[in-house]
Amino acid sequence: MNEELKNHVLGLLAQGTRLDGRKPLEYRQPIEVKKGYIPSADGSAYVRIGDTEVIAGIKLNVDKTYPDTPNEGGIMVGAELYPLASPDFETGPPSIQAVELARVVDRGIRESHAIDVEKLCITPGEKAWFVVLDICTINEGGNLFDASSLAALAALQNCTFPGFDGKKIDYKERTGKQLPMSKAPLSVTVYKIAEHFLTDPTFEEEKVYDARLSVAVEENGMLCALQKGGDSPLAPDDIMKMVDIAVEKTQDLRKLL
């Protein structure tokens, strides 16, 4: 069945178009970003790209510092692919797709050092703030990678500290103090089907791609994380082209924040 779908997608790409009439590198429109969507979260964002809808939410937590990084707090990213969002998702512990999605988003934030983790430390060797960011899928319409990365960054930018008296967190008390963020890493995933490159795939196009490359980019164009996926290999030339596309697309998406 996927063979027929693939031939159809390839036939359209040869004419410079796609299943829904878009050009190969065109995103679905409008793309919606709503910061502060969830009042119970310390930071949150709702993102919609086409039929795909995700909510990212942050709960800040005070915990013991790690022995090897006594002067630092930290960040953890989780992704939930709820069976509500797609007939392809199942109940139970996080699937390998959910783990990869979470780790790709996590790496972009972590490796760019976007959050000044030393400023999260409360008492060295004892207590620090930890940023727990969860990305929840409401509608799986394709391109969860870009939607999740965009939602994660928007939620981080929206995040403020709750009250803390040295012992207990009061989530109802809002200090208005923002997370110590110095950069804005954003990831775009470029897909390759035969010799064609495309961005923002629908879930159908995601069934038939050969390879993909997720590229996390800082606002100055510095690359901060990469992840190649898919069953087919990529030539070095392909990779450079895909990186160029990703850098350009992150600049477009950044305007929405």
């Binding site: 909510i55 969860d134 929840c136």
Partner: protein
């Protein structure tokens, strides 16, 4: 001290602001979003579809499965750990029992109807909001139903019977509190979910149930309006 004025200023019989919409999950067979105050519930129905593994199939009737889940950031308190908890498993169970009576599962032998309920935001009354959304999602999926299911939490705060308790009332410290989630088939006048924690007299319970009945009818109107918005033609004959 008697409870004379509700914490958020509502009347004793007044529910929080409600909002309902059907068809919000594109790839589901039926879906809905139901909001009541700061409690939001999405529900998606998948099925009737094949049930695997096969030994779970019932040749005489279909199987209904419900999954209730709070998103990790949905609580105004600590983060909720992902994955099923004892609490969420029990709520899934009572939700399933609350919805079963309106379905004709005999029509779908060897099949399963899955209902997934996800809550992005919760401030009390989440199981009831989940049931309201799930009932709408079943209707949106086009399953034959004997009635809708409408649900609300009623209860006692100190000396007063109130409807749709919010978090500040559940945690009220000025006197005894009892929380009574109720689900009803509003046209058939039957109760399909009833739980309670807290102490009440028999008279208080009777009063609470009669108030729940009245409020469930109001909720039913909100649910009906949401369905009417998506299916105007089906309601035109009414």
């Amino acid at each position: 001290m008697a409870y004379t004025k509700r914490v958020d200023g509502r009347g004793m019989d007044e529910v929080r602001k409600m909002e309902a919409k059907v068809g919000v999950i594109k790839r589901a067979d039926g879906s809905a979003l139901f909001k009541i105050g700061n409690t939001w519930a999405y529900a998606a129905v998948y099925g009737p579809r094949n049930l695997h593994p096969r030994f779970m199939q019932d040749p005489s009737k279909g199987v209904l499965r419900c999954f209730y889940n709070m998103m990790p950031f949905s609580s105004f308190n600590d983060r909720v750990r992902p994955g099923a908890s004892r609490r969420s498993k029990e709520i899934s169970l009572v939700t399933e029992k609350a919805l079963l009576p309106v379905l004709n599962l005999e029509d779908y032998p060897n099949s399963v109807v899955d209902i997934f309920i996800e809550l992005p935001l919760t401030e009390a009354g989440s199981r009831c909001a989940g049931i309201c959304a799930a009932s709408l999602a079943l209707a949106d999926a086009g399953l034959e139903m004997k009635d809708m299911v409408s649900a609300v939490s009623v209860g006692r705060v100190d000396d007063k019977i109130v409807v749709d308790l919010d978090y500040s009332e559940e945690a009220y410290e000025g006197g005894p509190v009892a929380d009574i989630p109720v689900a009803m088939m509003p046209n058939l006048d039957k109760i399909t979910l009833l739980q309670m924690d807290g102490e009440v007299t028999k008279e208080m319970l009777a009063d609470a149930l009669s108030k729940a009945k009245k409020v469930c009818k109001d909720i039913y109107e909100v649910q009906k309006a949401a369905l009417k918005q998506k299916y105007p033609a089906e309601f035109a004959a009414e």
